[in-house]
C-alpha cells in the first residue's frame, strides 16, 4: 500500500483506517477525474474566429492528484480530531483538577473591564457597546441560575427584564422614584413574578417547561402592548430619569449643582456614559459574587442536584418545590435588576425591547458559554454582542454570519465555550480531621 499522505503515527491498529482513507481518496479522485475531463481536461480556444477544442491533460492530472491528496489529508485531520476528542473524554475522571488559567483569565478580563472607559475615553461607541455587553453578561448570569444550575429551561426570561424595566419606568415617571430606591423594589417584584411563573410549572420538565415559559414571556409583552393606560402601550414609557451620581445629575444646566459643576469639570456627555458603564459593571460584579457564593451554599448545591436528578433529591428528603422556586425567584430578580438599569440607561422603554428574540439571545449566551459557567457567559456575551456589531459592514449577511458562528461553536464545543465544572467543595485528600476550611473556600 503506497500512500503519499503525511503519516505522523501509524500504529498497527491504524492500518485499516489508512486503507479506508486511501479507498475513500481514490473514490474522490475518480469522481474528480470524471468531472475534470470536460471541465478542466478540455477547453475551448478562439482560433481565428472558430472555436477549437484543446486538451490540457497535465492540468487534469494535477487536479486529480490534488483532490486525492487533499481528501486524504482532510480525512486524516478529521480522524485525528476525533481521536483527540475521544482521548480527552476518556481522561475526564481526572479532569476534576483545577484550571488556574481560567481564574487568571477572569482576573485579566476584570482588569480590562475596569480600565476600558479610561483607555477608550474619547470613544463613546466603545463604552456604549461595552455597556450593552455588560447588560447581557448580567442577564446571562441571572439566567444561568435557572438554566445552568437548576436545569430549568426558561424561554421567557425577557419577561423579568421587562418587569424590572417597567417598574423603574413607571415608578420614576409617575412617583418620582430614583434609580437606587427602585432597585430593591424592582428586585422583590420580579422575584415574585419568578415565583408566579415557577408555581404552575413545577411539574413540567424540559420541552414542556420551555413552552410554558415562552408563553409567559409573550403574556407579559402582550399585556405591556395592550394595557395602554398602565404601560403606555406600544408607545412605551418616555423621559425616564437617568441615574444620578449620589444626587448629582449629569446635565449641562447651571441652575443646580450638577456632576460637572460639583467637580469643577467641563460638562461632557461622556461623563454619563462612563458613569453608566461603571454602574452596570458594579451591578454585574455584585451579581457574579452573589451567584458564585450561592452556588457553594446548600441552596446552590441543591439547584445542581435538582438539575441532575429530581427523583433522587426527593428520596433524600429535599423539598424540590422550594428549591426550584428559589431558583426561579433569584434568576428573575437578577433579570429585574438588569431591566431597571436598561430603563435608566435608555431613558425610553417600549414592549419592542422585550421580544422573544431577546430571550433567545440570553439563552444562547448561557448555552454557548457553557451551562453553569460564569466566565463562559462573559465570552458568549462578548461574542453575541460584538459579532452583529462587526457584521454591520456586510449588513445583509449579518445574520448569516451570526448563525454560522453559532453552528461552528456548537460543533467545535458542544458543551459550550467553557464546559468545565468546578466542584463546589473538595476533600483535598488531606488527613483527618476534615480540612473544612480548604473545602469551604475552594
Amino acid at each position: 500500500m503506497t500512500t503519499p499522505a503525511p503519516i505522523q503515527f501509524t500504529p498497527t491498529h491504524q492500518m485499516p483506517a489508512m486503507l479506508a482513507r486511501a479507498k475513500d481518496a481514490v473514490g474522490v479522485a475518480l469522481v474528480s477525474l470524471l468531472l475534470g475531463i470536460p471541465m478542466i481536461g478540455l477547453h475551448t480556444v478562439d482560433q481565428g474566429g472558430v472555436l477549437a477544442v484543446m486538451t490540457r491533460w497535465p492540468w487534469l492530472l494535477a487536479f486529480v492528484v490534488a483532490m486525492f491528496v487533499g481528501r486524504f489529508v482532510m480525512q486524516f485531520a478529521l480522524d485525528h480530531v476525533k481521536l483527540n476528542k475521544a482521548k480527552r473524554e476518556r481522561k475526564r475522571p481526572e479532569v476534576a483538577a483545577r484550571r488556574p488559567w481560567l481564574t487568571w483569565l477572569g482576573r485579566a478580563l476584570l482588569g480590562f473591564a475596569v480600565v476600558l472607559p479610561i483607555a477608550f475615553s474619547g470613544n463613546r461607541y466603545v463604552v456604549d457597546t461595552a455597556t450593552t455587553v455588560l447588560i447581557y453578561v448580567m442577564l446571562g448570569w441571572g439566567l444561568n441560575v435557572v438554566v445552568g444550575l437548576a436545569g430549568l429551561l426558561d424561554l421567557g426570561y425577557v419577561a423579568f427584564y421587562a418587569v424590572g424595566a417597567y417598574t423603574y419606568g413607571l415608578l420614576s415617571t409617575h412617583f418620582g422614584w430614583g434609580f437606587w430606591e427602585t432597585l430593591p423594589v424592582a428586585g422583590a417584584l420580579t422575584a415574585s413574578f419568578g415565583i408566579l411563573l415557577g408555581w404552575p410549572t413545577l411539574r413540567l420538565r424540559g420541552d414542556y417547561l420551555a413552552i410554558v415559559t415562552l408563553g409567559f414571556g409573550e403574556i407579559i409583552r402582550l399585556i405591556l402592548v395592550n394595557w395602554t393606560d398602565f404601560s403606555g402601550g406600544p408607545n412605551g414609557v418616555t423621559s425616564i430619569p437617568r441615574p444620578t451620581f449620589f444626587g448629582l445629575p449629569f446635565s449641562p444646566s447651571t441652575d443646580e449643582t450638577t456632576f460637572s459643576s460639583f467637580f469643577h469639570l467641563d460638562y461632557s456627555a461622556d461623563h454619563r456614559v462612563i458613569f453608566l458603564y461603571y454602574v452596570i459593571l458594579a451591578l454585574a460584579l455584585l451579581t457574579n459574587l452573589f451567584v458564585s457564593r450561592l452556588r457553594k451554599l446548600p441552596v446552590g448545591i441543591a439547584w445542581e442536584a435538582v438539575r441532575e436528578d429530581e427523583v433522587a433529591c426527593k428520596a433524600l428528603g429535599m423539598n424540590v418545590t422550594n428549591i426550584k422556586l428559589s431558583a426561579f425567584a433569584i434568576g428573575a430578580m437578577l433579570g429585574g435588576f438588569a431591566g431597571v438599569f436598561f430603563a435608566a440607561r435608555q431613558g425610553f422603554i417600549s414592549p419592542e425591547s422585550f421580544v422573544f428574540s431577546e430571550s433567545a439571545t440570553i439563552l444562547a449566551i448561557v448555552v454557548l458559554g457553557g451551562m453553569g459557567s460564569q466566565l463562559g457567559v462573559v465570552f458568549a456575551s462578548v461574542l453575541l454582542v460584538l459579532l452583529p456589531e462587526l457584521g454591520r459592514d456586510f449588513s445583509e449577511y449579518r445574520m448569516l454570519l451570526f448563525g454560522a458562528a453559532m453552528i461552528l461553536i456548537m460543533v467545535w464545543r458542544p458543551g459550550g465555550l467553557i464546559a468545565h465544572r468546578e466542584p463546589t467543595v473538595k476533600l483535598g485528600r488531606a488527613p483527618s480531621p476534615v480540612p473544612a476550611n480548604q473545602g469551604a473556600q475552594a
Binding site: 446548600p298 423539598n319 473544612a436
Partner: protein, 280 residues
C-alpha cells in the same frame, strides 16, 4: 432530626397493614401486611414483577397506595402515616431513605458533593435560607464542617475516600452502588431501603456488600429493608425474609425457614424454572 446512634433494635419500626396498590386493572400489591424491626435486616424477595419495587415506592411516598396503611414508629415523632406524606417528608421526617434499582446519583457532581447534597436540610437550616451562609456566619460554618465530617466518616467506612473529588457518574458500577448507599446514610436514616444493591456487582463486591450491611445493622443499628435477587446476599445477611409473588406475600420467616418452605420452592424457585424450560 434523628441522631445516627438512635437505637431502635428489636422494636417494630415499620408496620405495614393490608397494603394494596392497583394500577388500573393490575394489582401490583395485594393486601400485604409486614412488620419491619429496627436494627435488623429484613429482605423482600420474589421473581421479577412480584411488586417489590412498587412496595418500596409505596413506602417512600413515590406512589400513593390504593388502600392500606404504612406506619413508621419513630422514636421521636411517634407513629407517622407514611402513605399520606409527600416523598421528601418520608426521608426528612420519618427517616426512611431509599436507594434505587437503577442507580440515581448526581452524575456530574463529585462523590463528596453527592454526600453533601444528602445533608441539604440540616445545612439549609443552618444557613438560615442562605442569609447566614452568604455572610459566612459562624453557625453555618460549623454546620458545614459537621456535614463534611459526617461525609468523610461514611466515605472512609465505605472505602470511597480516594475518589471523593471525582465526578460520580464516571465511576464503576459497583462503586456507584456504594456511593448511593453512603449518600443515603448521610440522611441519618432509621430505616434504609435498598433496592437491589447487589445487582451488577462481582462476587468480591457482593461479599463486601454483605459485610457492609451486617456492619450497618450491628454497629450502627440501622434498620435495613432489602430487595435483592442475589441469594448469596439475602441468605447470609437477612434476619427475616418476606417472599412476594404476583403481589401476594407467600411466605415469611428466617432464611432457614424460607429455604425449606414448600410454597417458596414451588412458586419461586421450582415452578418458574420449569415453566421457563418448557417455554424455551
Amino acid at each position: 432530626m434523628s441522631a445516627p446512634t438512635m437505637n431502635t433494635a428489636g422494636q417494630t419500626l415499620l408496620e405495614v397493614d393490608s397494603l394494596t396498590m392497583r394500577f388500573g386493572g393490575l394489582t401490583a400489591i395485594n393486601n400485604l401486611s409486614l412488620n419491619v424491626p429496627g436494627g435488623k435486616i429484613t429482605s423482600i424477595i420474589g421473581p421479577n414483577g412480584a411488586g417489590k419495587t412498587t412496595f418500596f415506592n409505596c413506602l417512600t411516598g413515590f406512589y400513593k397506595p390504593t388502600t392500606g396503611s404504612v406506619r413508621m414508629h419513630h422514636p421521636e415523632h411517634g407513629p407517622l402515616a407514611l402513605e399520606q406524606m409527600p416523598s421528601y417528608h418520608v426521608a426528612r421526617k420519618a427517616g426512611v431513605v431509599r436507594t434505587f434499582q437503577n442507580i440515581r446519583l448526581f452524575p456530574n457532581m463529585t462523590v463528596l458533593e453527592n454526600l453533601i447534597v444528602a445533608q441539604h436540610n440540616a445545612l439549609q437550616h443552618a444557613s438560615r435560607f442562605s442569609l447566614a451562609g452568604l455572610f459566612g456566619r459562624a453557625g453555618y460554618k460549623q454546620a458545614r464542617e459537621a456535614a463534611l465530617t459526617k461525609a468523610e466518616m461514611w466515605l472512609t467506612r465505605l472505602k470511597l475516600l480516594d475518589i471523593a473529588d471525582l465526578a460520580a457518574g464516571n465511576l464503576s458500577y459497583g462503586t456507584q452502588r456504594r456511593i448511593e448507599i453512603a449518600r443515603a446514610l448521610c440522611v441519618d436514616p432509621l430505616l434504609l431501603c435498598l433496592d437491589e444493591p447487589a445487582a451488577g456487582l462481582n462476587p468480591r463486591e457482593s461479599a463486601e456488600l454483605n459485610e457492609l450491611l451486617l456492619y450497618l445493622s450491628r454497629e450502627h443499628h440501622k434498620g435495613i429493608l432489602l430487595i435483592e435477587h442475589d441469594m448469596n446476599v439475602v441468605m447470609r445477611v437477612s434476619d427475616h425474609i418476606c417472599v412476594l409473588n404476583f403481589g401476594n406475600k407467600i411466605a415469611e420467616g428466617t432464611p432457614e425457614q424460607i429455604q425449606n418452605d414448600p410454597n417458596v420452592i414451588k412458586a419461586y424457585l421450582g415452578e418458574d424454572e420449569a415453566d421457563e424450560k418448557e417455554a424455551a
